[in-house]
Structures are given as structure tokens and as C-alpha cells.
């Protein structure tokens, strides 16, 4: 049975924890708004890129002279997984759910006898995955120092990936990130980057007879590498918003749990205090009666 003093100490320590989690929740809420705005601002670019590429890409998909970024290398033995997570923890299951999705995918591929290489973006994903796939991780990128993820960051990663592709280090690249659905719900997603995949349904809407300058092939050659960076950028922004959303929820829960704990401890404290008073009274009374 903890003494009165112990209880008092514990109450005050839980109280200060609660103060911290509440502050973190508020910081996350403010950051979430900014991250959401950034994600929304990036949407028109990615959407435009998509429509243009889908039209061109589907027309070229089955042709023999299609660029390798679109048609692939013709094999699928070497797989690259790009796992984008947050750099910081304390955001509930956010990081681990992305890592789990990547892990399952990697295990599937290994079972099929394929070679798996992993690039992690963000420290937390690296922490989780290196326990299981230490030898498979070829690169770990951390954006910890970056305050606001910019397009340049995504471009850097994109160029790294493209250089690997050019060097024939992988056949298929898949990007793992968390899709931001709402503040309370993020969905870990796997998206195939290379060879580029398009949704058939979105294509037939625009069938304008464009004049291409310099030529269709040149435009496709130009756009496909850019698209890799754009998709990574989008993933990073969605992740940024998702992380803050998850952190907000996690910290809200933590604050509530701390509140419950304080209530319980206070009740306990009061009970003990009363018991002690009763005990002292009994001692006095029985002492007086004995006289």
C-alpha cells in the first residue's frame, strides 16, 4: 500500500505529464492545419500531371517502343520498396502501420523468391524495418532537419530512385505511405511507382487531338521521371498531414487517460487520508477510555 506521500507525488507527476501531452496535442493541431494546406496546395499539380500522363501512358502502354519507366524492364525479380514514415514517434500506430504494410509486402516477395531492396524515408520506419530486414535496406533518408518538406526534398529522393533504376538495380518500385483520409483515419497505402500504373477509367474522358512539341515520346520521356518525384512529394505531404492527425489523436487519448488516472489516484488518496484520520481518532478515544 503506497503511503500518502507516495500518492501525492504520483498525482503531481501524472499531472505534469498531462500538461505535456495536452501541449503536444495543441501543437499537433496547429501543425496539422499547415500540413493539410500544403497537401491541398500540391493537389492541382499532381492531378494535372496525372491526367496528362494517363492519356499518353495508356496510348503507349502496349507499344514496343514505350519508355522503360512505363513498360518496365520486362522482369520483376528485383523489387525496391520505398517506405515513407515520420521522423518522430508519439503518434499512435501511424509509423508501425506503414511499416507493417511494407513488411508484409516484403515477406510476400521474399517467399516468392524475389530480391527485395528497401529505402526508408523517415527515421521511425528505418528503426522498425532494420530489425527484420537489416541486409535489405540500401538507403535510409531522414528528413528530420527539414522543417517544411519542399519539392526539392522529394526531387532528391526521386533522382536517387531513378539513378538506381538506370543502373538496373531494380525492376519494380513500390512506394509505401499513409493516405490522409481524415484527422482520425489514415490508411497505409502501397503505390507502384515504376513501371508507372494508370487507372483505365480516368483515361477516356479527354480525347483531344493535341499537337505535341517536341514529340509524344519526348514528352513522355520528360514527364515520367518527373512523375516519380511528384508522386513521392505527394506521399510526403500526405504523410506529414497524417502524422500530425495521428499525433493529435494519440495525444488526446493520452491526455484523457492521464485525467482518468488522476481521478483514480485522488480518490485513493482521499480514502487513505480519511482512514488515517479515523485511525487516529480511534487511538485517542480508546486511550481516553482506558484511563
Amino acid at each position: 500500500m503506497p503511503s500518502l506521500k507516495d500518492l501525492k507525488n504520483r498525482i503531481s507527476s501524472v499531472k505534469s505529464t498531462q500538461k505535456i501531452t495536452r501541449a503536444m496535442q495543441m501543437v499537433a493541431a496547429a501543425k496539422l492545419r499547415r500540413a493539410q494546406e500544403a497537401a491541398e496546395a500540391a493537389r492541382p499539380f499532381a492531378e494535372r500531371m496525372d491526367t496528362v500522363l494517363t492519356g499518353l501512358g495508356l496510348a503507349y502502354k502496349d507499344r514496343s517502343d514505350a519508355p522503360r519507366l512505363l513498360a518496365g524492364t520486362g522482369k520483376d525479380d528485383l523489387h525496391l520498396l520505398i517506405v515513407a514514415t515520420a521522423d518522430r514517434g508519439l503518434c499512435g500506430g501511424f509509423n508501425s502501420s506503414i511499416a507493417r504494410k511494407a513488411r508484409d509486402h516484403a515477406n510476400d516477395l521474399i517467399k516468392q523468391g524475389k530480391t527485395v531492396k528497401i529505402i526508408t524515408v523517415g527515421k521511425k520506419g528505418n528503426d522498425i524495418l532494420k530489425r527484420l530486414f537489416k541486409s535489405n535496406i540500401v538507403d535510409a533518408i531522414s528528413l528530420r532537419e527539414v522543417k517544411q518538406v519542399g519539392y526539392a526534398n522529394a526531387q532528391e529522393i526521386g533522382q536517387k530512385v531513378l539513378a538506381m533504376f538506370e543502373a538496373g538495380e531494380f525492376d519494380v518500385a513500390t512506394l509505401f505511405y499513409s493516405k490522409f483520409k481524415s484527422v482520425i483515419s489514415q490508411e497505409p497505402t502501397a503505390q507502384q511507382l515504376i513501371p508507372a500504373k494508370f487507372e483505365e477509367s480516368a483515361a477516356d474522358a479527354e480525347a483531344l487531338a493535341y499537337e505535341y512539341e517536341p514529340s509524344e515520346e519526348a514528352i513522355l520521356d520528360d514527364l515520367l521521371p518527373r512523375n516519380v518525384s511528384v508522386q513521392i512529394f505527394r506521399a510526403l505531404l500526405e504523410n506529414g498531414a497524417g502524422e500530425m492527425g495521428a499525433k493529435m489523436t494519440a495525444m488526446d487519448n493520452a491526455t484523457r487517460n492521464a485525467g482518468e488516472m488522476i481521478d483514480k489516484l485522488t480518490l485513493n488518496y482521499n480514502r487513505q487520508r480519511q482512514a488515517q484520520i479515523t485511525k487516529e481518532l480511534i487511538e485517542i478515544i480508546s486511550g481516553a477510555e482506558a484511563l
Binding site: A38, P44, F45, A46, E206, A209, E211, Y212, E213, I219
Partner: protein
């Protein structure tokens, strides 16, 4: 003939510009071209350079490559790096000149060198304009 075009300049970070204009000159890879109303649908890759907007607000926008789509009385410029020229400060222009010059020096083919040199020159023009009368007109794209 339709007088107006809808121009949108989009960068990954944001929608930079969205307004009705009468004409817009775009730095295509094969050369600059001006788009006015009733233009045939065109899709073109851009080289780094300046987009010139006429009608509505006169505006110069720096784009660091990307592509432009002309369709349905609308021009969409998708640029990875896009900034209004009026947003550049003098120090930034000087820095841009330095980077562009470095690229020009590093370029291997003559075409690349020319293209990079053109940017250096445009930025230098920009700098003189800023010096003399504030960021308004840039000539000699």
C-alpha cells in the same frame, strides 16, 4: 474569336496564378511561343525561362522547366519551380545568376550551354531593371 484565355500556373507547392489573359508567351523547348484565343491544343515541354502574361495584369513568371498544356481556351503551365519575377529580391536574382552561370559552364552540349546562358542573360536583364526602376519589365528573353 474568343478574346480571353484562362491561364493557370501551377507549381508543386501551390497554384501560383489563375486568371483570364489575352495572350501568354511560354518558353517551349523548341522555342518561345505565344498563345492567344482559339489556339489549337498543344502540349509542350518547357525549358527554364520566363512566362510572359499579357492582358489582365502584365506579369513575368520565372519557370524552371516543366510543361504547358493548351486546350479548351485554357493554358496550364506546370512548372516544378515557378515564381513571379516581382517576388524576387535583388540578392536572390544575383544568386540565381550565379547558379545559372554554373550550369552554363557545366553544360556539355552546345544547345544546353545556349539554353543556360539565355537564363543567365535574362536574369542579368532582370537585375538591371530592378536596379533602375523596380521589378517591372524584363526584356531580351
Amino acid at each position: 474569336m474568343a478574346d480571353n484565355l484562362k491561364l493557370e500556373v501551377v507549381s508543386p507547392a501551390k497554384l501560383l496564378l489563375s486568371e483570364d489573359v489575352t495572350a501568354v508567351t511560354v518558353p517551349g523547348r523548341e522555342g518561345n511561343f505565344t498563345v492567344m484565343g482559339d489556339h489549337a491544343p498543344v502540349m509542350s515541354v518547357l525549358r527554364p525561362g520566363f512566362v510572359h502574361v499579357e492582358g489582365g495584369a502584365e506579369e513575368w513568371i520565372y519557370v524552371g522547366g516543366g510543361f504547358a498544356e493548351v486546350a479548351n481556351e485554357a493554358v496550364t503551365v506546370l512548372a516544378e519551380d515557378a515564381r513571379k519575377v516581382s517576388d524576387f529580391s535583388k540578392a536572390e536574382i544575383e544568386e540565381a545568376i550565379a547558379t545559372a552561370q554554373k550550369e552554363a559552364d557545366a553544360a556539355e552540349s552546345i544547345e544546353d550551354k545556349d539554353a543556360a546562358q539565355l537564363i543567365v542573360d535574362s536574369f542579368k536583364n532582370l537585375l538591371t531593371e530592378v536596379d533602375h526602376m523596380g521589378p517591372a519589365v524584363v526584356t531580351g528573353m
